[in-house]
Point group: C2
Chain length 239, copies 2
């Protein structure tokens, strides 16, 4: 069930059989989590990182006023707090959006990786750098894109990332977020999410019902979104 994670790594660089064995050996235990809980609380001392095997999680930051901004969504195969290995504490919560299955990876073992497997270390460094690239793209969305374009962009991003993990095909994927949660990703209110979603439907770009996303016209959606996947760094090359 760590397959999605290996798929994600192998999309960016070769992973030898030996390295795969090392990576599989990182996991100390596998745990199931219910939906809508804080899995990792901000500012808590960390001694392990969490690899998402199944389900959706998110990195959320809250304002004292109670407003929430989600900084990144995570799907199967993502290391949701790999950055916690060097940071030791997180500046955000990691929350479950659905029921999830996760693997725990002790920081001690990650440290050994940096000492004995520099190539894996660089690969994991790369993964956190790709997370940062996603943050930058969201910054661009929030700063300069309209609500419509922003939402279209998110749907394009999820289509690719879920596809990589084997969780999307034919431009269709399970999309478990409520409109409130979509708003927390997009910096919008739930009301405006609702209207923007209707506009995307009216334009016949997407269908979204029963938590199931179907992209009807990917080319047009990308155009509305101004979507270019280079920021996801999907080329396989030595790192």
């Amino acid at each position: 069930m760590i397959e999605a994670h290996l798929l994600k790594l192998r999309a960016r660089d070769e992973v030898t059989a030996d390295e795969e064995k090392t990576i599989r050996g990182l996991v100390s235990e596998v745990v199931d989590l219910p939906a809508d809980i804080v899995a990792i609380r901000h500012h808590a001392e960390l001694h392990q990182s969490v690899l998402l095997l199944e389900g959706w999680m998110a990195r959320a930051k809250d304002l004292p006023s109670g407003e929430r901004q989600i900084a990144e969504l995570h799907v199967a195969g993502d290391f949701v707090d790999l950055h916690g290995f060097t940071l030791k504490r997180l500046d955000h919560d990691v929350i479950t959006m659905t029921a999830c299955r996760v693997a725990h990876v002790p920081h001690e073992r990650l440290k050994e990786v940096t000492e004995r497997f520099p190539h894996i270390a660089r690969l994991y460094w790369l993964m956190t750098n790709i997370d940062a690239a996603v943050h930058r793209e969201w910054t661009l969305s929030l700063g300069r894109r309209t609500a419509l374009s922003r939402m279209a962009h998110l749907f394009c991003e999820l289509n690719i990332r879920l596809g990589l993990a084997g969780r999307a095909s034919n431009n269709c994927y399970a999309m478990p977020l409520t409109q409130i949660e979509l708003g927390e990703c997009l910096g919008l209110t739930a009301v405006h999410v609702n209207r923007t979603l209707q506009e995307l439907r009216r334009l016949e770009l997407v269908e979204l019902q029963q938590r199931q996303m179907r992209i009807l016209d990917l080319a047009a959606l990308k155009k509305v979104a101004d979507f270019d996947p280079v920021y996801l760094y999907l080329d396989k090359r030595p790192r």
Copy 2:
């Protein structure tokens, strides 16, 4: 002149004399750049990273419509494209906001660091993770904070980061950005930046003239900004 960089590292962890020597040895050459150029073009193949010794740079993403969003500001001591070491190409431009002096660090030497100096490698990994934390805080600003709060937050962040590099004292620092460029950071138009700045002045929180920033009431400014510096990870501990 690499002092600011060492200060930045030493704010987060011990750096031994040996390690300092290794870090100083990373630099291949030092170059001066004029203001307002693209120092590193997005998507270009990279074989070295750039360490900013003096001046201001920024990571900028452009939309086809010509609108620009700045994702992070960089000051003396920052490795402006350390993430380029694993990414190999950038998803954004790195531009100079002022005349700058930079040091070039070949990726070959960084690779050696990951093989022979895992602790320095972890420190540099940490630095890119802190950049990502800054991205997340900006995401929160753009998604949920008002223009006033967002601007106040940026001024607080710069106060701390410049202070760390020895470029701020008594809550005063050189602030070379035009109002247009401030808008590119804050997701605002220049007109609204102007009005928001006036509001901050009217509230007697800051003075900004002749490109010189003076924070008049830091406590009040932080309150308006909802500023908490934990996201800058200023605690010194083993990484």
